[in-house]
Symmetry: C2
Subunit: 266 residues, 2 copies
């Protein structure tokens, strides 16, 4: 069955896109076909998966504007078999005023996911998409609300730095608001600690605070700060391909295994 995860946190620069790209790659490499939906007008996930701006013929803007189905927007990445991406273009930034009058504007992506699920049923079991990861922009706007309304659960990257702690309460409140108004079964799938720098006490102080706040929801896998992870997108590759032996690559492989295992036991 298809599992939809919104990768969200309104704090900027915490590793949402990096997690969507590299977790997606690791899931696909583990045989779980994965679609990354890029919902950030900056299009970082699309670029990081090797889709240049001039090859984004059908985009998530078209999907949300009701002009195309997700099946038409998604392309298989050239690098990773079983990894697909629905790319973003800059006009996504102008969507909010365009749909502000539509009463069901928070459900446009959910409706697109419903039709994707239906068309996936027609495919042989082994070729079906198993995971959808939605990369969200750093704000709690109509794009992030669409993602949360369309998802089974939220995967929350939290950077191991002080300012990242401040936004956690606001994020939790937003998820509760969405659960009450748009999507009654939405929950937090898990919290992944990112950019953990073992040279500083701050990283462990923040990690302990996050574990205190989210408890069991925090994945055992912690993503270390690793400069190779930041270099990979400038080569248009996920870290698993750019430097498969790096600590960053191994951590995302571990995270994928942990998520697959949690799903099996759920």
């Amino acid at each position: 069955d298809l599992r939809v995860l919104a990768v969200a946190n309104q704090k900027g620069g915490v590793g949402k896109t990096t997690t969507a790209i590299n977790l997606g790659t690791a899931l696909a490499a583990a045989g779980q076909r994965t679609l990354v939906v890029d919902l950030d007008p900056q299009g970082n996930a699309s670029t990081g998966l090797g889709i240049p701006e001039d090859q984004r013929h059908v985009s998530t803007y078209d999907v949300l504007a009701g002009a195309a189905a997700l099946e038409q927007a998604m392309v298989e990445t050239a690098m990773v078999p079983g990894l697909y991406v629905a790319p973003a273009t800059r006009d996504l930034a102008g969507l909010e005023p365009e749909i502000s009058a539509a009463p069901n504007r928070a459900y446009f992506l959910r409706d697109a996911i419903v039709s994707l699920r239906a068309s996936e049923q027609d495919r042989p079991e082994k070729e079906r998409i198993r995971y959808v990861l939605i990369d969200c922009p750093p704000s709690l706007n109509i794009l992030t609300l669409n993602a949360m309304a369309a998802s089974d659960s939220v995967l929350v990257p939290v950077q191991c730095e002080f300012f990242a702690l401040e936004g956690i309460t606001q994020l939790k409140e937003t998820i509760e608001f969405v659960r009450a108004s748009l999507n009654p079964t939405l929950e937090i799938h898990g919290v992944v600690l990112t950019m953990h720098d073992s040279r500083t006490k701050l990283a462990d102080e923040v990690s302990n605070e996050v574990r205190g706040f989210f408890g069991e929801k925090v994945y055992a896998t912690v993503i270390p700060r690793n400069v190779r992870v930041a270099e990979a997108p400038s080569h248009g590759k996920p870290i698993l391909l750019y430097d498969s032996k790096s600590p960053g690559s191994r951590a995302y492989i571990d995270l994928a295994a942990e998520i697959i295992d949690r799903e099996r036991r759920a």
Copy 2:
């Protein structure tokens, strides 16, 4: 005369708040009284300047909602004489729908700045505010538009990492849009390269690309990646007070000197 700078970039986590806090501190230390206006609902700048949530009696939400003047919201920081902050609270996140019907909603902060300028004229020259730095959230929403409509110019932090490059064109387009529709004299004051990590070629590749795009506008001062800078806010202090000998502290002092010098020559 009062100079108003919006510290803005819709890419998340590039150092907007860190720059507002530490440049503000360095300007105040150089004798230029400075007000940091926190326009991010996360309130990171307020926390980083030592104002806990329960001491934010009048906030930028109250100012934008027309319930208070900036003069009432601003408090002098206990740590740095001549450094003031107008703190943010979480209800700022709910402002956009509340003011969406008001025709002049993009000018609420500008009007508040006009009244601040007037009241500053009544104070003795030496006690007047010389700089206002507006810390923006990571999106191009009504809060950032208010900041740009209220500002003389924009100070753009750009992180020396690959994804930070992608948003630059969009930011430039937004500034041109604001100049055409809301604030005809708005320009880019300068671009500051942040979190420059000398261990990786990527940092210099990105820096060269940014200098190629913005030319003279890029400040000579580059802020290095320095873990002490990330530690400082967990102690509620700017880096200049937390570790004045650190490379991060020295860089922000240099940046302040460069900005004061550019202003003198302008």
